[in-house]
Amino acid sequence: MPQEPAPEAAGSVSVSLLRFTQPAGAALIALFLAACLQSGGGPQQPIAGADVARGREAIAAYGCAACHVIPGISWPRGAVGPSLEGFGARSMIAGRVGNEPAALIAFVRNAPSVAPGTAMPPIPLTEGEARDVAAYLYTLDAR
């Protein structure tokens, strides 16, 4: 019984805090969004020597979007494999192996060797192209 008033009091305090801090909250949200925009450019898991822009070009050139929805590629929006939105924050590749750079670089070139049973066939990417593609995929943030 004595505990009951406490939550009410806490509730009213937080409501009034919210009212007072609305402008400050808006500023915080703006700062957060700006931080998001800034961090969007760099890979979450850096890959030495890889070029994100070249990775996007390779993805377009090899037609990866024939099977996957890929942010940054407007067409096609394939519906065979999973969407790669937020791929940089995903823990698993193909639901089989941990999403580590070495595994991803191998997977985009020869998926069946990394995840046997996958429908994704080997793609004739060079090692350098595979590194670029992986670097691009790691920029695909869930936010």
Binding site: Y62, G63, A66, C67, V80, P112, A119, P121
Partner: protein, 318 residues
Amino acid sequence: LTLGDAFSGWPPPTLDPAGPNAEAIALMAWVLFGVLGLVLLLVLVAVALALFGRGRGKKTFARERTIWALGVALPSITLAGFLVYGLVVMNDLSEKPQPGDLRIRITGEMWWWRVVYLDADGRELFHDANELHIPVGRPVTLELTSADVIHSFWAPELAGKVDMIPGRINILRIRADRPGRFGGACAEYCGGPHALMGFVAAAHAPADFDALIARRSAAARAPVDALRMAGQQVFLASGCGACHTVRGTSANGLAGPDLTNVGARLTLGAGILPNNRGTLGGWVSNADAIKPGVRMPPYPMLDADELQAISAYLENLK
């Protein structure tokens, strides 16, 4: 092979002719730009004089004679000149087929191109799709028609647009003066994925052309390993042969493109995708997601192993 390798540029450059037919059109475009540029200049000067001029200059523009001369006579002469020029060029480009021409029949279909190489007597040699191969320097007679609605054949580096009309054969005589891979597109709205109906016109040195025709006219390469043999079985068991032909197998359908050489094609899906095992798998599994409205249904009944096998089999057909 990526799309960048398949075309010399996309969209295809319209003022970079690779043969006499396109040259005449490019020259006409430059003449039009030049003459109409002069006309624009003349009009701007006349407007400036009429607005800001003083005394005699301004009065000249108010005279009836000036209006007759610059407003009626000059445009009539210029436009009549363009009309004559246009008719002469059109007449020059409407050539009759000549003996010794290579003959190729191209049929516009919703939404791809059926390409049939013919012998001198018009008998079919073999079917191909979505790309046209010609030798440099030799005139080619294209017999353009349609199987359904009106399409238009346009490879701007080689020739102007020619409509493909059901029940009619329009002749387009072209020649490529340099080797290259020239992009083309359907230039008449034909419904649904019209904007995804492209092709490649490739011009080869004569010896390369002969070798290519010899390869493409032969029966399909038989699968050599377990994966591709399994792929062929999946292909035949899934009923692909009801719409597609693979010469040398029981697949003999005519509704869709001949797949005897599908692995050798420069593009996939009629000039829209690079051609590799990945895009082949994506196309087979769900072509409609790539090209909405395409006549080929999705194949969700294929499992991962079957899709791997069929993609490997198709990639090897070359």
